[in-house]
Symmetry: none
Subunit: 210 residues, 4 copies
């Protein structure tokens, strides 16, 4: 574990600062002021602001995975897993609003010296992978419709985008009814991916036909 307490504290404060002020206003000066430490303490623990940003992205992803994994992996059907993925993701968002807002800010704003997005893309495939695997499983189990390579990717991306879109809405409307929204969204995409012809598929939980 490379994380000292100080590092962890600064990451935490930075996340809330970015969530509140936005990426551009969240200067190192602001962050250390809110953490009640000196500027030097920042430079001592982080080689640069970029390293802090990397740490933030890392931390938020980790926290998300820690929250979702048990909820998603406990599922026994593809439909149940897709539903659990969407709902636990939105539940995590609801309980960690600042984490999500900060992540969005960092990922869409942090840039390298030559102007490219620092956290651009690299993560995208990694993020879609679990969703694609759920879709493949559902297809093999006969619960979901058949996917081509591309349609699986498009579907996974649409689900991710719909979830991420809520991060933006949360920013504007913090009182959003997330659990209702989550159920609605799960239904929508289950309708979209279910195999159309099998009567047995009628329940959202995706009953396995014998």
């Amino acid at each position: 574990m490379e994380q000292s307490k100080r590092r962890q504290q600064i990451v935490e404060v930075a996340i809330h600062t970015i969530a509140e002020l936005g990426y551009a206003q969240a200067s190192v000066g602001q962050i250390v002021k809110r953490a009640s430490v000196s500027k030097g303490v920042f430079t001592y623990h982080f080689a640069s602001k970029d390293e802090l940003m990397e740490q933030i992205v890392h931390e938020v992803f980790d926290a998300g995975a820690r929250f979702m994994s048990p909820r998603v992996e406990g599922q026994t059907t593809p439909g149940g897993m897709l539903k659990a993925y969407i709902e636990s993701n939105l539940e995590f968002m609801g309980g960690h609003r600042d984490y999500i807002v900060a992540l969005t800010e960092v990922v869409t704003n942090a840039r390298t010296a030559d102007g490219k997005l620092r956290f651009g893309g690299a993560a995208d495939d990694l993020i879609l992978e679990p969703l694609i695997e759920i879709l493949r499983w559902g297809q093999e189990a006969g619960e979901f419709k058949p996917f081509t390579e591309r349609s699986a990717r498009v579907t996974a991306a649409a689900i991710r985008s719909a979830i991420d879109g809520i991060a933006s809405q949360l920013l504007v409307n913090p009182g959003l009814d997330l659990s209702g929204y989550a159920a609605e969204l799960a239904d929508l995409f289950l309708s979209a991916v279910h195999r159309p012809s099998h009567p047995a598929d009628s329940s959202a939980e995706g009953g396995e036909q014998s």
Copy 2:
């Protein structure tokens, strides 16, 4: 028409600069350098950087509406219109990548003095409205499944998010096969909203009755 040639030129250059370097690096200095004009020429034509940003948002929305309107409004069925909405939107994105990227950058970054997003939220409802109307029309025509107030909004938001999500992907992967992607996405959401004409498809409503 209040737009002088110079204003229009600066807006154009600014859009490409923002698309390439991101909002934060797209300083007035960068923009005028790329436009090969002096700093003063900017201040002469725009009261402030904020005014330029407003102009950019305005310009991109207008250009999008000009492109999509004839394609969408020519449709005679709800399904055709939803498909035309998705496809013409993505086609516009493909032909105006920088416009879309710049719009996204401006909308997610431009802030007022008190730290609030300058173009935040206000637009959201306006943007969803046309989609919701298509869904309503489809419902009334018997082509789409029935929607509650909330499910219509969630569905519209999911469609919008899926489309907007492509802006981000375009940023990272400019070679994206947009027309294939568009057809796939249209199919996905048509599956999701169509009335389950097959009795066996009853799952679309997803309602668990007690």
Copy 3:
């Protein structure tokens, strides 16, 4: 007469602009905007901003002289003339508040390239001269106390400063009761300069001894 109507109009607008916004904010841009003319029209009529400032100083001094001369020169006693000088000066200030404020702003702010006050000092001796002459006349007439070269100059400067001090007060407190103030000030300085030994001189009006 070198003054075109345009020049005169611009000088007038500039005086009011400076009075309202202060020297530093009274840019050429502001002035031409308020005059509803283009920037070019300014450059056509004035070689530079400095020339405008000179014209303003000239104009205000002239207007002051035109107002005060008949009132001061009609006097037949030194005391009457000193009183008339003070009172007509303050009366002019009251009726031309913007002129006085603008003059003060220009004289205390306009600088040459090397940082020296553009209208500094040169005028000072010229301004004190008439006052010194009144004092000399009063001394010769036996109405005022005797003055040395220096005491005459110090007294004249004190009177001028007291009058000018009111310009500053007018700036802050436009509702100042100038005529009351003027009478009070005249009394004060008549007390100060009157020959001390003549009991009859004790009245503020500067009684003529028989």
Copy 4:
């Protein structure tokens, strides 16, 4: 004591810069150049240029009070105190020419965002108060003539203006014989305020009764 050495140094340099170049030319850039420090060092120690200006005003008033207080408060007669006030004030001006010039520049030029003088007026009454008290004391002691509310204020203002007027003259003529000037000015105003009927009052020193 909140003043660091650097703050004090910058205030000092700023005073001399303003005295030499005037308020408008005394940019932060000029000041830090003359102080041989970087621009950043200024912002580190002062939140804004305005804060520096406030500090300058504070510093000059304080220095003046430190110098004058012992000289004025040691006096035992109203006349002696008025004389000490005028003379110690001018003596301070002579020894701190730049302080006085800078104060005048700042007070007459520094403005708030809405165009009002930043240090306008508010101070005026405070400054006149000590003088008015001296006049009142002299009246009660029978040494000065009777004053109305207004005549006391007008007299105090005239004295202040005469003193301040010398700041302007010092600007133009640094070699001014201040101590001679001061004695002359004290005599002038003692003549103006003394009770006219008491022959014993004729000396400028304000004869102490045996």
